[in-house]
């Protein structure tokens, strides 16, 4: 068993930045993510269908983006944190061959309830903003 540390609410301040994470968008991630979220919309696994929709290749489904955003938040917080909500907006599609850089910043801290808001952006190196939104976590150590 590996030891996992979870950040406590009193260690967090508004304005704290999360370490950036680069995610390589591969066909395996796009298709594998779609199937793992049980999303069989053809545009996520069938290149011809994606091209008919106006894009050069299969593109990431929103539930994968959502999973990656949540993962980014809990990678930072550690496993004792509970995810309270996620509010995500999609921008430009993520396609195989791109690299998405995910960044985050703490925008609210409530030491009474242990709740923090993290504003998270995912920008890909080709088309720019892929996703932005807020993940709300409840951290241990509230007053």
């Amino acid at each position: 068993m590996t030891d996992f540390k979870t950040i406590r609410i009193d260690e967090v301040s508004v304005g704290d930045a999360l370490a950036a994470l680069d995610i390589e968008v591969t066909t395996a991630l796009v298709v594998g993510g779609a199937i793992a979220t049980r999303d069989y919309e053809p545009v996520h696994h069938n290149k011809a269908a994606a091209q008919a929709a106006g894009l050069p290749d299969v593109f990431m489904n929103i539930l994968t983006s959502q999973a990656l955003m949540t993962r980014f938040a809990t990678d930072w917080s550690g496993p004792e944190a509970s995810v309270r909500s996620i509010d995500l907006q999609l921008g430009a599609p993520n396609l195989p061959g791109m690299v998405m850089t995910v960044t985050g910043e703490i925008t609210a801290v409530d030491s009474k309830t242990g709740i923090v808001d993290i504003a998270i952006n995912g920008e890909n190196n080709i088309w720019g903003m892929h996703m932005h939104g807020t993940v709300q976590l409840k951290l241990p150590g509230e007053d």
Partner: protein, 324 residues
């Protein structure tokens, strides 16, 4: 569609607002480690709260939980959705969109709130309605409508696990969408800055820039410097000119940080500035090496010729103290 047909189409579409899609629909699989492992592997999520039973045992929760982000996955239809989805209000509405040319589909927003951390063996039940349909909108993907479904997820005890608001765009794919795609390589080539076209009056300047020199045009008759280059001297009307190489030292006359729109091929943050060169001409460039809040009008800057991307060589300016 004629205006009348379009009106009829909208009547049919808007009749779906408020319609029930699912009522206490049970997920075919209970929350289980195998599907979670498959999901976590795809997402690269190593959170032990989902998969490491030994860790979970001694954790504050004392048990494994299902990933909250999977809440909706348990009830997704699966492979039949790739060909013909089962009929429900949502599928029927999407079919109606498809039949009228709005065949494109794009999830644009998802908002989930979680009330309870469901665990292994729990079964997820979903209630869903079509909550809103927008008026017709012009979007970057094409003309279309946004609709929102609203779902509530419960467990086998009837306790609420969470809610979800999902926003989807149904749109008419841009005409010729297929034909615009030539090759993967071209489509995904790393974008570069948008270059200036080169003509008789400016090509020489950009060619010198390619070679790493920032020039300023000079009238050989009256010695007046001018920028941007032009074929005639506005002071003495001479058409004879040469150029001098700039020292690339100057002062900021104004600057602006470009927040929106973000354009592929350009860095972010991006500051543009008008710089008064010590030679006397003004020049528009980028201000680098400082944040906008630390920039000021009147600050001294020092420039270098820089390869800013695979194709572009540009003068770039930095606060002078950093250079010294």
């Amino acid at each position: 569609m004629t205006p009348e047909e379009h009106q009829l189409f909208e009547q049919k579409i808007y009749a779906y607002v408020g319609r029930e899609v699912f009522s206490s629909q049970p997920a075919p699989d209970r929350i289980n480690e195998a599907m979670i492992r498959h999901w976590a592997e795809a997402m690269g999520d190593k959170n032990p709260a989902y998969q490491d039973a030994e860790w979970a045992e001694q954790s504050m929760r004392g048990r494994l939980i299902g990933p909250p982000a999977m809440m909706y996955c348990w009830n997704q239809e699966g492979i039949t959705a790739a060909t013909k989805r089962s009929s429900d209000a949502l599928t029927d509405m999407c079919d109606l969109f498809d039949q009228h040319g709005y065949s494109g589909v794009l999830g644009t927003n998802v908002k989930q709130e979680y009330f309870k951390e469901a665990g292994m063996g729990d079964q997820v039940f979903v209630d869903m309605i079509i909550d809103t349909i927008s008026e017709q909108k012009a979007t970057a993907r094409g003309i279309g409508y946004f609709f929102e479904s609203l779902a509530t997820f419960s467990d086998q005890h009837g306790e609420k696990i969470g809610t979800q608001r999902f926003r989807v765009l149904k749109f008419i794919p841009a005409e010729g969408a297929n034909s615009t795609v030539s090759s993967d390589e071209e489509a995904l080539e790393t974008p570069t800055r948008i270059a200036s076209p080169r003509g008789h009056d400016n090509g020489w300047w950009w060619e010198a820039a390619d070679e790493g020199r920032m020039l300023i045009q000079r009238c050989t008759a009256c010695q007046t410097l001018r920028h941007p280059p032009r074929p005639m001297c506005g002071e003495c009307q001479s058409m004879d000119w040469d150029s001098i190489e700039s020292t690339m030292q100057g002062e900021v006359l104004s600057f602006t940080e470009i927040h929106h729109p973000k354009v592929p091929g350009y860095p972010s943050p991006l500051i543009c500035a008008v710089i008064k060169m010590d030679e006397g001409t003004n020049f528009v460039s980028n201000l680098r090496g400082c944040e906008a809040r630390d920039a000021s009008i009147g600050m001294r800057v020092s420039g270098v010729m820089e390869q800013v991307d695979d194709k572009t060589m540009l003068p770039q300016f930095y606060p002078a103290t950093q250079e010294a």
